[in-house]
Structure formats: structure tokens, C-alpha cells
């Protein structure tokens, strides 16, 4: 059961500032928080091919094996975080379903499944200037020719740990620790002045 009224996302106070930005840049840059995204952390042995097959069947698509890539089907996505770790992501309210599916897939095999939906919030940055903005605070190469759709990476947003996913040409998704969300948002807004 989700009580909409009582939940509050870490960047609830930034909605207006983000909206103003999109207007001010004529859409060249838009930032918004995607609140309450379902996120489940999965640890499982990638060398166990039966297990990987079971997990693929359970969630409906194969987990990415290539480092720093994303696989998806419909509104579910799986981000490669480590050789035996993935972040399985879905829309609001699906963490329970994802957990159940993964647990079915894991069956009795060794692994771990943790609901981390409230651990991080998600910031979407869109527009032609998205990558330019992030060049002011993210050290890795986010150029579209290197960091294309279907790629993800774990890096720093200045001093805050962040997962970045390239969803499509003009859209980058940032997964930021809930407690560090305002720091990240303040930095992004400050970087705009450059």
C-alpha cells in the first residue's frame, strides 16, 4: 500500500527550480527528479549459468554481463554494477514484485536481494547541454560516442558517489544517495552559471 500523501522525495523542494531551468534554457537543458523509482540490489554468481538463466526467466530479460552496460525490457532495467552485482530498476511501487521475481529466480542459490529503492533518488538530465553540464562535475568521459545509450557507470559527482545511466542520446539518469541529493542538485544548479 502506498500512501502518496505521506511520501516525500529528497528533491521535492527543487521541483520549481528545475522547471524554471528548463524554461530558461529553452529546453536545451532540463533537470527533473524521478521520485520513488523502484530499485533492488542483486548479488548473484554470474558463472552459474543455470542461475543466470533462471534470473533471466524470472525478470523477463537477461542481466547484463558486459561491465557498465544496461539491459532492459519494457519498464524494467538492470544496471551492471560489479561482476556479481546489479541494480534492477522499475517504476514506482514495483520493488516488491521485483524482489519476488528475483527471489524466485535465485531459488535456493546463494546471493542477496535488497530493496534499496529509498537509498537513492533519480535525477534525469536531458537536452543538448546535458553532457556539457556534467563535464563540470563528473570526471569520466560522457561523450555520446563513448557513453552511449545502454551504458552505465559508477563515478563521482564532485565528491558524491553516483551511478550514471545513458538511457538515450539526450538523456542521462543519475542515481544519487538520498542524503546527498540536495548536494548534487545544488552543484548542478551552480554549474549552470558556467
Amino acid at each position: 500500500m502506498i500512501a502518496e500523501a505521506v511520501r516525500r522525495s529528497p528533491l521535492a523542494d527543487y521541483t520549481d527550480r528545475f522547471a524554471a531551468l528548463s524554461t530558461a534554457t529553452d529546453g536545451a537543458l532540463s533537470i527533473r527528479e524521478l521520485p520513488f523509482v523502484s530499485q533492488v540490489d542483486l548479488r548473484a554468481d554470474p558463472k552459474d549459468s543455470d542461475l543466470m538463466q533462471r534470473l533471466a526467466t524470472a525478470i523477463g530479460f537477461a542481466l547484463p554481463i558486459v561491465p557498465n552496460t544496461v539491459t532492459s525490457r519494457e519498464d524494467r532495467r538492470a544496471l551492471w554494477l560489479a561482476p556479481d552485482e546489479w541494480l534492477v530498476v522499475g517504476p514506482d511501487g514495483q520493488q516488491g514484485a521485483i524482489e519476488r521475481e528475483l527471489r524466485n529466480g535465485l531459488n535456493s542459490a546463494f546471493g542477496s536481494i535488497v530493496d534499496v529503492s529509498a537509498n537513492r533518488t533519480v535525477i534525469e538530465i536531458r537536452g543538448g547541454k546535458a553532457r556539457d553540464l556534467l563535464a563540470h562535475c563528473v570526471p569520466i568521459d560522457l561523450d555520446a560516442r563513448v557513453f552511449s545509450a545502454g551504458r552505465c557507470a559508477q563515478t563521482l559527482l564532485v565528491k558524491a558517489h553516483v551511478i550514471i545511466e545513458c538511457r538515450d542520446e539526450s538523456g542521462l539518469i543519475l542515481y544519487v544517495r538520498a542524503s546527498l541529493a540536495t548536494y548534487a542538485a545544488d552543484w548542478l544548479l551552480d554549474a549552470l552559471t558556467e
Partner: protein
């Protein structure tokens, strides 16, 4: 005025007003401060650091050792690098800058850049390399330290080529052109740091390149002779630049002193600018400038300028002659600019024919082109006769300046060698050659040559000193970038933060977290507020945001074994739905961290850590799992931010919790101490724990952090009838100290064992755990180790400062033996007095004894007690 009527790349239709040392002057768009000063006949720009000798513009670039100026709060700037802007106010320095006490008002930024090819240096070679790379579709960055590209070509009649080439570079979208950008550090894997000067600050580019092309050119070096530092003496190439690029005559009557062909074109350039060439002194023709003399006029604050030179045959015989002049153009050859190359671990070799160090083995993916690679044809060096120092005319070498910025002379180098030093590195440190803010760009190789000459060694054998970043001075502001003020360090906030702000909390930084320190009512001071908050927790009900605790989810069939090894106590018997306090040691047996471990389900646990220790504990656990205990089937996941944690504390806490969860049985039998329950209130899913860090009956209510604020507000509403009181970290500290609960990092400092803390009870005798073996060391079993005790100051009102040292005798002679220190000290509402915790040598043997804390001017006496002041029997906790 020495401005030429025409010529140069300045715009005579756009005058710029500026002032130097308070006097107003006029320059033009395209000038820098050095060219504008020369145009206004300002010959003396600064005074030297040690001898106070007048100094003028010596070069036309970054290598400038003399013309150091201050502009506003920016100090130690090279006049050759200061672009002229309207209203500029510059002051000449006497070798030392002045640091401002004001905050740096500039705006600095940092940018990361990635490219396939980074070309450093926008002269002919660099532009050519960039053009070539730009054809491939690769990402190319071309940087140059000057305001415009072209390098030496500027003002040298290459305008058409420059225009065409730069036009071609501007069209590909993947070519980025940066001017006023100095690459100052070249690190592993081609990370290059670039300082870009912007109108009101700067930008630090952190560029990572697959391939770096160094087109850094060459610096001309001077010849060394007596009194070679007078204003009016400058590098030959600089004189050409001032005439051709800036349309300035740097003198009226010139003498040229050279050992190579590069000055051939200079005489013509000077004459065209109306400067007479009085003599060309060429060591290849057997002549040298032996000495110089000052101008006789000397008035108008411009004294000390060059008046003329004494020329003598090299052989020593023959006649000397004096030639009057106000400009002496010197060229001793060129040094390829290989600072970045050397920083990147490129090796140099000495080239006898070119009389300079050239690149030898290049590091991977680094290429050197143009003059930097030893191609000095563009400079017109042609034939060169290696020559360094003109012999002293019976003088003591004390005016043969080697390093102009540092005021170091040949006499200093000879002194260093006479003490037995042989290494160029030692001589550098003894003399300080090359340690100025110019890093000896015009001095370093001459130093090597002087040493080689003195020692009778080949120049190549003496070698050069290590080149280290930064190539040019870089301001701290640039390094800091926008990491200033609120953005200096990450600020971590809990979900309840907006409530705390709205209710007037005073915050304390705990690690990166902002935690409410106390919640003052009206104009309460901290002491009053904390006493009130503590009283509420002890007598009614109080509430604290405990969300910052570190939280680690632990899953796997070997989780119990893992926990047994990590913690000193055992977890085999802990049932699902229960928690247990756990203590962790490092391998040396010293206390590391503590927290509560929850057993959530089959093979499923959750460990809390201290707020500050969260990351370190997770790393510590992962290190053991990944490197030592790879057989353990356990997986860890950080869930610190997933959970919000509301601690409801005090004898009335059960009433508040009952109001929120009316159906949940809360009596001590149904929900005992250290039990866990799952429930919900008003649509908020909640995990309840009966945990206490205050010694009172208490509940920690956990929920996903996005419900955190709602849960907090629900607790406040349910607690209203009981006057529920929010409290902060200060009251938390007092409450736990009254109960003798330690805080890792406050009572402990990495040298404290559990036994020292009187916590032997938590050391399992049945299992191995990290640190156990160290507890058997003789030292950790010493009876005179510092042990945790309580202290009650004799004066009930006297508060011992934390950190105060404790001694046995109140009036012992100094130095007196210190036997311990105060770790925590507070005023207690419950005890109606002050109290403290301390680490005291043989503390448990001293119970009841007196110790003394000598403070500034007075001594506080205190009685040693057990480190527990309140509810020893845990009646309240278990109620």
C-alpha cells in the same frame, strides 16, 4: 613614448587606460602590461628580491623572471602575462608578493575534458599537428597560453597562414580551441591540467587525452656576464616580439650580444623600428660583453637602467671598448620547453650540436614536435657556439646573475661547488636557482652548464634538475574551483531535515552529516536547552533523528559465522526478530566500531555502525570477505540512506508508540528489550526496535527514508499529549554518558581495548574474532593501561574540559606525570551536577581516589568513580 607609429598586432583605435605604481598610462587593445610599460618608457618594473636591484622587462612570455607585479589581490604576476584591460591598476614588486587577507573574489571553475589528441602549444608546430588530427574526426583540443594562437609567428609576417589555419581549425565540431590556457601539469596516463585565465577568474581543465602532442616551443636563454640584470637588458627574441608584435621600441640604441644565428634578423627589425644598432657582439667572432654600466641620468625614478656595455675580446688580450646603449639584446641559444615532457617521465639528452637538452625517450602516447623536439630552424638558431658565462674581469662573480628572480649569481654556484656539492639537485637547493615562481625557465640550463664548466664535465653528464608541476604558478582559488562555501564538502541531510530547520535546530557536523545539535526554545542557550531535552528523555518522552547511523544489510548462509568473526561477541544464539549490541576490534585488538546487529530472517541480518564509521566498517568487512574469507557465502549492501530512524525515548515512549500502533502488543513480555516488530501507522510501514542509547525505555522506528518526515511528524503528533521533546546530539551524548555507554572515537582513539573499557563481558571465549589474539599480548594485559572511569568534580558546578590531562598531585612540580585524560564531560540534569568519563592509568584501582586536572591558572579536583552514573541495574531500560 616608445610606441611605433605603425605595425604590430595592437589596435591603435582602441586605447586602454591603466596605471602602474599609481601613475596613469595608456596602452592599446592587444597590449599586455609589459608591452604597455615599455611603450610608456617604464624601464624599471620591479626590484630584485635579495639585493633590491632595479629590474626591467626581460622576456616576452611566461619565462619572465624580473617584471613581477601585483594586480589587486593577485600577486606575483608576470607583467608579460597580464592582459591589458581598462582601469588595470598594477604595482611593481620587490621580489615578494603580498598575500591578501580578503577572500578571493574571483570565480573559478573546473571542467573535465576528454579527447583523442591534446595539442599543447599553438605555434606553427602545434597548429599543424591540430590540423592534421582534426581531419580524422577525433576529438582534438589545442591549448595555448597566450591570448591568441600563433606563438612566435605573431607579428612575424605569418598572418595569412595563421588566419587560414585557424579558420580550418574552427570548422570541425570536435576541435576545441583554448587560449590563455597554460598546461601546467602532465601526469600519468596523459592527464593534463590546464589553467585558463578568464576575465574574472579562471577555469581548471582536467584533460585526459589518448595522445598528447607537445608543441611547447623553446625558451631563449641569456648569456651571463657582469651586471647582466640592468633594465634594458632583454632576450633577443623578446626585443623582436616587442617591435614586431606590439609595435614598441624597447630602446633607442641597441647592442646585440649573441652566440648563434637567431639574432641575424633582429638587427634589421630594430633598424626598421628606428632603433640604432650600435654593435653586434658575437662570441663566434671572438668578442663578448664583459660588463655593463648604468645610465648616467638616473633621475625620475628610472635610475639604474642600462647606460652601456664594455666589450672585450674573448682571448683576454686586445683592447676593450665601451659602447653606450639603452637596450642590450642577448641570445645564448634556445632550450626546448620540455617541462611537461619531463613531468610525464620523458627522458632528455644533451645535444652537442644544438647546445641544448632535447627529448630522448618519450613516454607512451606522448609526441614532441617543433622547437620543443629540437627543431630550432624556426628560431633561426643556425650555427651556435656553446657559450655560457663571460669570464669575470677580476671581480668576484657576484653580479653575474644566473637566476634573476632568485637573485642567484655565479658566485653562489661556485660557493656551492666549493663545499663539495656535485649534483645539480644539490646546487639547486643550496643556491635556490630555479626555485622562484618562474621555476628558473631562463636559469636552469645555464646552472647546469656552469657546474659542468667548473667541474670539467660534459653538460649532458651533469643533467638537469627534476621538472615538477606546476609549470606556472597556480592560485589556490583555481585548485578549489567551486568547492567553496556550502559546496566545499558534501552535506548529507536526513529525510527529517526540513522539520529540524523549521523548528529552529542548531546543527552540528558529524562527518558529512548535518545533525541537530540541540533545539533551543526561544532564546535558550545550549546548556539550558540540553538540560531540558535530557530531563524530557528521563522523565517524559523525547525524540531524536537517528537516521545517520550506518546500516549494512548482510545476507548469506555464512552470515552468522561472518558476524562471529567480525564482532567480539557471538551471534549464534540470536533469534530472528531480535537484536544484539556488538563490538568490533581491529587486528591489533583495539576497539574499532560498535553498533546493533539485527537478525531479520533466515540468513538475513542488518548491522548498524556509528555515524562516522559507516564507510570504514563496510570497507573493513568487504576487505575481509574479498581477500581473506572468500569461502564465506555472505553479501553486504549499504542501506544507510534507505532507512530513516526515529528514536522515541523515555518512560512515556510506550504511550506514544501505542498511539501510533494501537494493535501492536507493547507490554515487556510481548515486545521485550532488543526485540524487533513490523507494523504500520497511517500508511507508513515501520520496523520497530526496542533499542536504547540513553538507558531509558526506548523504541527506534525505522521506515524507508521517503516516509521519514511523515513518520517523524506522526510521532510528534502522537507525542503531543505527553509533551514530546525533540533532542539533538548533545543531549544524546549526555544521556549515554550518564549510563557509561561509550562512543567509538570519543572514549576510544585506536589505542583502547575492550578490557580497557571494562567491557570484557563482550569478549567471547568460545570463538575466534578479529583482534582476539592481540588481547593475549603482554602489553594489552598490562594492569597500568588507561582504563575507562567516571569522574565527579568536587565542585558540583565545575565542568572539566574534554581532553584535560589528569595528574595525581594537585601541586606537583612541572613536569608532572600525566596519568590520563577526560574523554567526555557534561552537566547532568539527572545528577544535578557535572560529571565526566576519562581514560585513567590503572583507573579501576583508583576508584574513590582523587585526581586533578591542572588548567590555565587553576586545578579541578575530581573523584574517580565507576563509569556509570545512572540506573546501574537497567531497571528503566527493561521496564
Amino acid at each position: 613614448m616608445s610606441r611605433l607609429a605603425s605595425g604590430g598586432r595592437i589596435d591603435r583605435t582602441r586605447p586602454i587606460q591603466f596605471s602602474f605604481n599609481g601613475t596613469p598610462y595608456r596602452g592599446y587593445e592587444g597590449d599586455n602590461l609589459a608591452s604597455a610599460l615599455l611603450a610608456n618608457d617604464v624601464r624599471v618594473v620591479a626590484n630584485s628580491v635579495t639585493y633590491g636591484r632595479p629590474r626591467g622587462v626581460f622576456s616576452a612570455g611566461v619565462e619572465e623572471p624580473n617584471a613581477l607585479v601585483q594586480v589587486g589581490n593577485d600577486t606575483m604576476l608576470r607583467a608579460t602575462q597580464v592582459g591589458l584591460v581598462d582601469g588595470l591598476e598594477a604595482i611593481g614588486l620587490n621580489g615578494r608578493g603580498r598575500l591578501s587577507l580578503e577572500p578571493d573574489g574571483h570565480r573559478y571553475d573546473k571542467v573535465y575534458a576528454h579527447c583523442e589528441v591534446l595539442v599543447i602549444g599553438g605555434g606553427r608546430a602545434g597548429i599543424t599537428a591540430a590540423l592534421e588530427a582534426g581531419q580524422t574526426g577525433d576529438r582534438v583540443i589545442l591549448v595555448d597560453e597566450q591570448a591568441e594562437f600563433g606563438g612566435r609567428l605573431l607579428g612575424a609576417g605569418w598572418n595569412d597562414w595563421l588566419e587560414t589555419s585557424l579558420g580550418a581549425l574552427r570548422s570541425p565540431p570536435d576541435v576545441r580551441l583554448l587560449t590563455r590556457a597554460t598546461a601546467f601539469g602532465h601526469y600519468d596516463q596523459n592527464l593534463v591540467l590546464i589553467a585558463q585565465r578568464l576575465p574574472n577568474g579562471g577555469r581548471l581543465w582536467q584533460a585526459r587525452a589518448k595522445r598528447v602532442v607537445l608543441a611547447t616551443g623553446a625558451h631563449e636563454r641569456p648569456l651571463i656576464f657582469a651586471n647582466n640584470d640592468r633594465p634594458g637588458i632583454m632576450l633577443a627574441g623578446a626585443a623582436r616580439a616587442y617591435v614586431n608584435r606590439y609595435g614598441v621600441a624597447p630602446g633607442k640604441r641597441a647592442v646585440i650580444f649573441t652566440n648563434n644565428d637567431s639574432t641575424d634578423a633582429l638587427a634589421g627589425d630594430l633598424k626598421r623600428a628606428g632603433i640604432s644598432v650600435e654593435a653586434i657582439v658575437d662570441v663566434r667572432a671572438g668578442e663578448a660583453v664583459l660588463d655593463t654600466f648604468p645610465s648616467p641620468a638616473g633621475g625620475g625614478g628610472q635610475g639604474g637602467g642600462l647606460g652601456g656595455v664594455t666589450i672585450a675580446p674573448l682571448t683576454g688580450g686586445g683592447s676593450r671598448r665601451e659602447v653606450e646603449c639603452d637596450l642590450l639584446c642577448v641570445s645564448g641559444g634556445f632550450n626546448p620547453t620540455l617541462h611537461l615532457f619531463s613531468q610525464a617521465q620523458g627522458r632528455l639528452r644533451y645535444d652537442q650540436a644544438l647546445a641544448c637538452f632535447v627529448p630522448d625517450a618519450a613516454p607512451p602516447n606522448v609526441e614532441v614536435v617543433g622547437a620543443a623536439a629540437g627543431d630550432l630552424g624556426g628560431r633561426g638558431q643556425g650555427t651556435i657556439m656553446p657559450y655560457w658565462v663571460v669570464p669575470s674581469d677580476g671581480q668576484d662573480w657576484s653580479t653575474h646573475f644566473v637566476d634573476l628572480e632568485r637573485d642567484v649569481t655565479v658566485a653562489d654556484v661556485r660557493r656551492a661547488l666549493s663545499t663539495g656539492m656535485r649534483s645539480v639537485e644539490h646546487v639547486k637547493r643550496f643556491t635556490t636557482i630555479g626555485t622562484g615562481s618562474d621555476q628558473g625557465k631562463t636559469a636552469g640550463i645555464n646552472e647546469t652548464a656552469i657546474i659542468a664548466t667548473q667541474l670539467g664535465q660534459p653538460v649532458g653528464a651533469v643533467g638537469v634538475t627534476t621538472f615538477r608541476p606546476p609549470y606556472v604558478p597556480v592560485s589556490f582559488g583555481l585548485m578549489a574551483g567551486r568547492n567553496r562555501g556550502d559546496l566545499f564538502e558534501p552535506i548529507r541531510l536526513t529525510a527529517m531535515h526540513p522539520w529540524h530547520v523549521a523548528h529552529g535546530a542548531v546543527f552540528e557536523n558529524v562527518g558529512q552529516w548535518k545533525r541537530p545539535w540541540y533545539f533551543p526554545r526561544h532564546d535558550e542557550d545550549i546548556e539550558t536547552a540540553v538540560l531540558r531535552e535530557c530531563r524530557a528523555a528521563r522523565e517524559g518522552v523525547a525524540v531524536m533523528d537517528a537516521s545517520t547511523l550506518g546500516k549494512i544489510d548482510i545476507q548469506g548462509p555464512d552470515a552468522v559465522e561472518f558476524l562471529n568473526r567480525m564482532y567480539t561477541n557471538a551471534f549464534d544464539t540470536l533469534k530472528i526478530g531480535s537484536c544484539r549490541y556488538g563490538l568490533m576490534c581491529k587486528v591489533d585488538g583495539m576497539v574499532f566500531d560498535d553498533g546493533v546487529v539485527m537478525h531479520l530472517g533466515p540468513d538475513h541480518w542488518l548491522a548498524t555502525t556509528t555515524t562516522g564509521g559507516a564507510a570504514a566498517v563496510l570497507e573493513w568487512m568487504e576487505e575481509w570477505l574479498q581477500t581473506e574469507w572468500t569461502d564465506l557465502r555472505v553479501r553486504l549492501t549499504s542501506v544507510t540512506d534507505h532507512w530513516a530512524d526515529v528514536a522515541v525515548v523515555g518512560p512515556r515512549s510506550r504511550d506514544v508508540v501505542r498511539g501510533l500502533f494501537p494493535k501492536l502488543p507493547l507490554d515487556p513480555e510481548s515486545f521485550p528489550f532488543m526485540a524487533i516488530r513490523e507494523s504500520e501507522t497511517a500508511g507508513i510501514p515501520v520496523r520497530l526496535h526496542r533499542i536504547t542509547f540513553s538507558g531509558e525505555l526506548a523504541y527506534e522506528l525505522w521506515t524507508q527514508s521517503w516516509y521519514g518526515l511523515a513518520l517523524w511528524e506522526a510521532v510528534m503528533a502522537a507525542g503531543e499529549p505527553f509533551a514530546i521533546t525533540p533532542y539533538g546530539t548533545e543531549a544524546m551524548h549526555v544521556l549515554r554518558a550518564e549510563k557509561g555507554y561509550i562512543i567509538c572515537g570519543q572514549e576510544t582513539d585506536g589505542t583502547v581495548t575492550p578490557q580497557d573499557l571494562g567491557m570484557s563481558w563482550i569478549l567471547s571465549k568460545k570463538k575466534a574474532f578479529i583482534g582476539r589474539r592481540s588481547h593475549r599480548r603482554r602489553d594489552t594485559a598490562r594492569p597500568d593501561r588507561k582504563q575507562l572511569v567516571g569522574l565527579l568534580p568536587v565542585e558540583r558546578d565545575q565542568l572539566l574540559p574534554e581532553g584535560a590531562q589528569l595528574v595525581v598531585e594537585p601541586d606537583g612540580t612541572i613536569p608532572t606525570k600525566m596519568i590520563g585524560h577526560v574523554t567526555s564531560s557534561y552537566r547532568s540534569a539527572t545528577l544535578d551536577r557535572t560529571f565526566a568519563l576519562a581514560m585513567l592509568q590503572s583507573g579501576r584501582e583508583r576508584l574513590g581516589a582523587m585526581v586533578y586536572a591542572p588548567l590555565n591558572g587553576h586545578v579541578v579536583s575530581a573523584t574517580v568513580t565507576e563509569p556509570i552514573f545512572y540506573d546501574k541495574e537497567n531497571v528503566r531500560r527493561d521496564s
